[in-house]
């Protein structure tokens, strides 16, 4: 059986071309139409959050509000936001005692086993840091998780494979697999709310204003003044993820 070299090359060329075209077409079909959000232009915003440790009282309101607003599964290991309590003994700063019972959704039990007046005790609210250079986005094999043009890291649950690589890649433990959908889940910064001019559920529910949604692209946003006048840090700065969760009064022992 003789195959003409020219015919072979032309045929394989067509196949290669058609496979590429089919992939592009399929991508287009899958993408669908973006949900209409009138009066909202993604490129006009760059979202961030301020978390003021000096104001957090560990009540867990934010955790409860998030669970209700976003229908977060009430199972162990499923938290879009949570609060940690640090107990630091000044004589032994390397070994802080930390707890976060049920993500602090019911607050914290009283400390009875050690003298609290000898300790530094504070609460650290946590959520997705909406990093500008997210390791979770980098590792997703099909781009199901992405950074939106307004600086929010989101997951397309219709595409997510559930490979869990993003969960491994997040240095802050912000991701989990939703046991109902078997896809990766995390804080969306209440994207459905902020694109309608509202704040996030956790910020709204916080009784002390320890959480503040901020828009870095808005010149009138108080965040600019806040960042200028306060000692602010991000979690694990050595990870260089471009984290946009800015903590005021963050103790160096916090991980």
């Amino acid at each position: 059986m003789e195959v003409n070299r020219r015919a072979f090359l032309v045929d394989s060329g067509w196949w290669l071309l058609l496979t590429g075209a089919a992939a592009l077409a399929w991508q287009h079909v899958e993408a669908g139409t973006p949900e209409a959000a009138p009066n909202y232009t993604t490129t006009d915003h760059w979202w961030a959050m301020i978390l003021d440790i000096e104001k957090c009282i560990g009540c867990g309101n934010c955790v409860r509000a998030c669970t209700l607003e976003n229908d977060v599964p009430r199972e162990p290991g499923c938290y879009r936001t949570w609060v940690e309590r640090y107990q630091v003994d000044p004589a032994d700063r390397e070994h802080p005692r930390v707890d976060s019972p049920d993500g602090a959704s019911e607050g914290f039990p009283e400390i009875t086993d050690r003298p609290v007046d000898r300790l530094k005790i504070f609460f650290v609210p946590k959520l997705c840091n909406h990093c500008a250079h997210s390791p979770c986005v980098q590792v997703c094999p099909i781009g199901a998780t992405f950074e939106s043009p307004d600086g929010v890291v989101l997951v397309d649950t219709a595409r997510c494979l559930g490979c869990r690589y993003c969960v491994q890649a997040c240095p802050y433990g912000c991701r989990f697999i939703n046991p109902r959908t078997h896809t990766a889940e995390k804080c969306t910064l209440c994207y459905h709310r902020i694109t309608r001019g509202l704040t996030t559920a956790c910020c709204e529910a916080c009784p002390t204003g320890a959480r503040q949604l901020a828009d870095l692209k808005n010149p009138d946003d108080p965040i600019h003044e806040f960042l200028r006048t306060h000692t602010v840090n991000v979690l694990k700065p050595q990870m260089a993820t471009g984290s946009k969760a800015y903590y005021n009064g963050l103790d160096g022992v916090v991980r």
Partner: protein, 389 residues
């Protein structure tokens, strides 16, 4: 919280990657190692290992066919995995798996096996009847030209494929190492040594597996073991193992000496939860003992029978050690919290999708495929003649 010591982030309760993901680097490692052993004969003309050439290729194929299975079983949405081919995310190390895999399967292994077996396939096609005749006809891709000129061409092409195949085998497993080594969030994984360590441990495990399979096949076929072949393979196993062990010890030494912020947590983990699998199984039973046994054969004169027994014991222990190494990387890397303040436990289930039972079945499957392949494409020339008659 049961199974948890200290503080872990609330979302870290569940381990993300189970025993199935332990099998993934273990299996791809066996593939890469078996192929590299086969290439020794073909590219570097190590005539002594010729009896294992075809067996090594078939072993690589049998395991490569199974390699994506544990990944597929682990996915939350296996039906979407094809998306990796259509819309791969170029920044993702994992996205390349499909392409590296297909390249290795289609361009390297299948081609090399086909060129090597083409003459046998045509002869079997001519000699058989009925369904079998049709099968061999399809496998020969309808071409029955076995003129000396075309066989010479086969040989030349096969050689080129092998030369392309060696860097491909390095790529396949080095790449698997990169999937882990590039996760900066995890200090247990994040080291540029990871791909190299994975590669050398792959070579070690593949050589050990083919060595054991060769001895087993001789025993089953009641033919004498070619001791020159076995001695040569064992020597290569010894050398590869030395490099592998040195690299792993370098990694360990570096961690201990540098003692960065993660060290205390990792050190505690190795001394407690990973003690059995890391210190006992991986380092002592799975590395030092087989290395010692293989070294003993190099320096002492021994009977063929004794050497054979030592090789078998060393081979089995090597596989145990490399499996333990994969376990310690994958599972060990998830036992400590990224807060470095606590530890969790891996609770392996039995008859669930990611439990022990499916893992055992996944490990048995390549051997079943190998038996089928050996029946179809006998790797030993004498048997092939008998088969055709």
């Amino acid at each position: 919280m049961p199974g948890v010591d200290g503080f872990i982030y609330p979302n870290e309760i569940e381990l993300q990657w189970s025993v199935l993901i332990v099998l993934y680097p273990f299996i791809t490692g066996l593939v890469a190692g078996a192929f590299i052993l086969a290439s020794l004969e073909r590219v570097f003309n190590v005539e002594a290992v010729r009896p294992t050439y075809r067996l090594a290729l078939l072993t690589a194929l049998a395991f490569l066919l199974v390699a994506p299975l544990p990944l597929q079983m682990h996915l939350g949405h296996p039906e979407r995995s094809f998306q990796m081919y259509l819309t791969p995310h170029r920044a993702s190390a994992m996205a390349m798996f499909g392409f590296v895999y297909l390249w290795y399967l289609m361009v390297v292994l299948l081609l090399e096996i086909w060129f090597d077996y083409r003459r046998d396939l045509v002869l079997a096609w001519r000699a058989s009847t009925g369904l079998k005749r049709r099968l061999y006809g399809v496998l020969a891709l309808g071409s029955d030209n076995i003129s000396p000129a075309s066989l010479r061409l086969d040989d030349r092409l096969g050689r080129i494929v092998t030369i392309v195949g060696i860097p491909s085998a390095f790529l396949l497993h080095g790449y698997v190492g990169f999937i882990f080594g590039s996760v900066k969030a995890n200090p247990w994984w994040s080291t540029p040594l990871m791909p190299i360590v994975f590669l050398f441990s792959a070579i070690v495990s593949g050589i050990a597996l083919v060595m054991l399979l060769y001895v087993a096949s001789c025993w089953l076929r009641r033919v004498p073991v070619d001791m020159i072949c076995l001695d040569t393979i064992a020597r290569y196993l010894f050398y590869a193992f030395l490099i592998d062990f040195s690299l792993e010890m370098l990694d360990l030494l570096h961690r201990i000496y540098e003692a960065d912020e993660s060290f205390r947590a990792l050190d505690f983990m190795v001394k407690t939860r990973l003690f059995t699998s890391q210190i006992v199984l991986q380092i002592v039973v799975g590395t030092l003992v087989p290395l010692g046994l293989l070294a003993l054969v190099q320096v002492r004169r021994m009977s063929a029978r004794a050497r054979r027994a030592i090789y078998v014991v060393a081979g089995v222990l090597t596989l145990v050690g490399i499996f333990a190494m994969r376990w310690n990387v994958v599972i060990g890397g998830q036992l400590f919290s990224k807060s470095f303040l606590g530890y969790t436990t891996y609770k392996m289930e039995f008859a669930t999708r990611e439990g022990l039972l499916p893992a055992i079945l996944v490990m048995i499957l390549p051997f079943v495929i190998l038996v089928a392949l050996v029946r179809l494409l006998p790797p030993w020339p004498d048997r092939a003649e008998v088969h055709e008659g």
